[in-house]
Amino acid sequence: MKIASIVALIVSFFALGLGCLSLARNTFEAYPVPVLLILSVALLVLYFSARVSHLEAKRSIIIFAILSVASAIILRMLPIYLHGFSINGLIHRSMISALFLLTLSVPAVCYSLFYLLGATPGAYDISRYPLFLVPIGLVLTAYGLILFRIIVNGAPLLNWSLIAHPFQDQSWQSEIWQNGWPVWVPNTLLQIGIRNHILGTLLLMALSSLISLPIGIGVGVFVHEYAGPKMAEVIKFSTTALRAISGIVLVVILLNLTRFASNHLHGTIFEKIIKGFGYYSGGSLVLGNSSFLIASIFISLLIIPIIARVTEEGLNSMPRDIVEGSVAMGASKEHTLLRLLLPWSFPNIITGLVLGCAEAAGTLTVIFLVAGNGQLGVNPLSETTSLAYLIYDCQFGNQLGDTVQRYMGPYQFTAAFVLLAITIGLTVIALIMKNKIAKRYKGA
């Protein structure tokens, strides 16, 4: 019995490995069919030796053996590329064989483990692990691939000059004296760098936190302390709705605002504030599509729900007896709130703030149609820019009509790398703070 289950285990592991390889490459054409046949033989051997040893022989093993033979037959009959039924693609045969191999080898591994460990209920539990581990392994491989690619493509190109210089692609005419006559000479300034993009990301984070912090805390405090049940429902619903409706809706509104500013407020100072300073082209200032100020207001709409939720959690988490103790001493609600509850919830609020910053740093949905490349520096009134926008521009720059793709194309992954570093750093800080908060409750 042991021998049969060990052989079955080896065969099914081999089938599993072959399935994963077929998923990755197209070249293992000759192997799936024989492996499937051997697998079905191994399963049948397993079943019969289980019968012989008077262990619990599951009927479904026979079903899997039959399926395995059937899939071997199907695979032999398929052409290399499947097409037809107007499906917009050619499915390579190795995809089908990978599918068959994976779905048949995982149960086979489970069954052989079960019999190897003695067919007890405890063995049944252990034999379920491959069922969990295989999909998780595939997904973790995908994540590893992402990290690997970004680091390998992006990190080597990162050098100090890239970070220290902003991206510039400006042209203007200047007047110089030549032989006694004024001549207009074209000048260009071309510089490759991501400084302004990094600064823009940081500015977005700072501005949106600044705006969303008081509002979020206000919402949390109001819902926790003062609101009646109906009012609390309405406020909670609208705050979660702000997060549920995606950023793309916000960008439509933002575009409306920009268009409104162009059409109706043309030439005024308000237009400059709303649209932000862009870049010089041919000697004149071109306004961008949105300034940092306005973009941060929209981004903060996405962050307010996070901060409101963590504020409320923090306020709720204060042990009831301490609050009652304060009230029993005659302190007013506001006093309890300001002196006791809010300081207690500070760690929660700061954690939420860090998470919100990570969100704001990475958000592209709200700004990707209105941002620019920050050639005129980074301040609240200049054109919105961000690392995420740079990545987007490198991909779709041609369609947007600017030149970023030509010059900054190779640096797309570098920008992704820097952005990844910022967001992962912030997330890790938030995680550590969450752990510290949890420890605080354990001690208390």
Partner: protein
């Protein structure tokens, strides 16, 4: 090695075999650690088969830990290490598959914990889980009769178990653990959440089950121990201080700590 001779007790009404030969539990040199802290120190104890043994002692002395060792539920807690031997009918349960062990050793918990299913499904849960082939309706009837619930619930078998009172829920938990026909039943302070009438019914059930099952009950209530148990083990600070027949322990305890505990000087 599964106990193959089944007791000849048949309930005349339903003709369902309800028990097998009750096994004896023996603890040899048992040490239990949670992390660095040692909870039980060198316990040597024999629980006589077919009898009710009560484990008494002050709070925190390790009674529940001892009980949970016997059906290996303490392994669910992280960092738990068990050294020594625990024998069920001569087999070391620490080397057995835990699920097979728990099919022979049932447990009733302090707070009743029925599943969020109907009464009938609650009773049959264990039977279906271990894939035992038997007459489901007859099993439900006999187990509920044993737990003194059949008359009250025979028309309400499909109601949710949460609709019952706490006392009924606790008796449902007993019925549930009887359905898998164990050899040993562990009871962890079963009466602590119950009102006096439910406690009386519970104690009557325990007395009824004497002879068919080995029962080990942890209790804080000395009157209860006096009433229902045949043997008593006194635990203090993780050590077994004294073990013997109930009457003898309560009238002439041989150790000073036992005497102090029984007379109420220590709790």
């Amino acid at each position: 090695m599964i106990a193959t001779d089944v007791s000849r007790t048949h309930l005349p009404v339903t003709g369902v075999k309800t028990c097998r030969k009750p096994g004896g539990i023996e603890l040899k040199g048992l040490d239990v650690f949670y992390g660095q802290k040692q909870i039980l120190k060198g316990i040597d104890l024999v629980f006589p088969p077919s009898k009710v043994t009560a484990i008494i002692g002050p709070s925190g002395c390790g009674k529940t830990t001892l009980l949970r060792c016997i059906n290996r539920l303490n392994e669910l807690a992280p960092g738990c290490k068990v050294k020594g031997q625990i024998l069920l009918d001569g087999e070391d349960i620490l080397k057995m598959d835990p699920m097979l062990l728990r099919q022979r050793v049932g447990m009733v918990f302090q707070k009743p914990n029925p599943f969020p299913k109907s009464i009938k499904e609650n009773v049959l849960y264990g039977v279906k889980a271990i894939k035992k082939k038997c007459d489901y309706d007859a099993t439900v009837k006999s187990c509920l009769e044993k737990a003194a619930l059949w008359d009250e619930l025979k028309d309400r078998l499909h109601d949710s178990a949460f609709a019952l009172s706490i006392g009924q829920q606790q008796r449902l938990c007993i019925a549930r653990s009887l359905a898998i026909v164990p050899e040993v039943i562990l009871l962890d302070e079963p009466a602590s959440s119950l009102d006096p009438i439910s406690i009386m019914t519970l104690e009557a059930s325990i007395m009824d089950m004497k002879g068919e099952y080995t029962q080990i009950i942890v209790t804080h209530n000395m009157n209860e121990a006096l009433k229902i148990s045949d043997y008593v083990a006194f635990l203090y600070a993780g050590r077994l201080i004294e073990f013997g027949e109930t009457k003898k322990i309560f009238t002439h305890p041989s150790q000073q700590e036992t005497h102090d505990y029984i007379t109420g000087k220590v709790y």
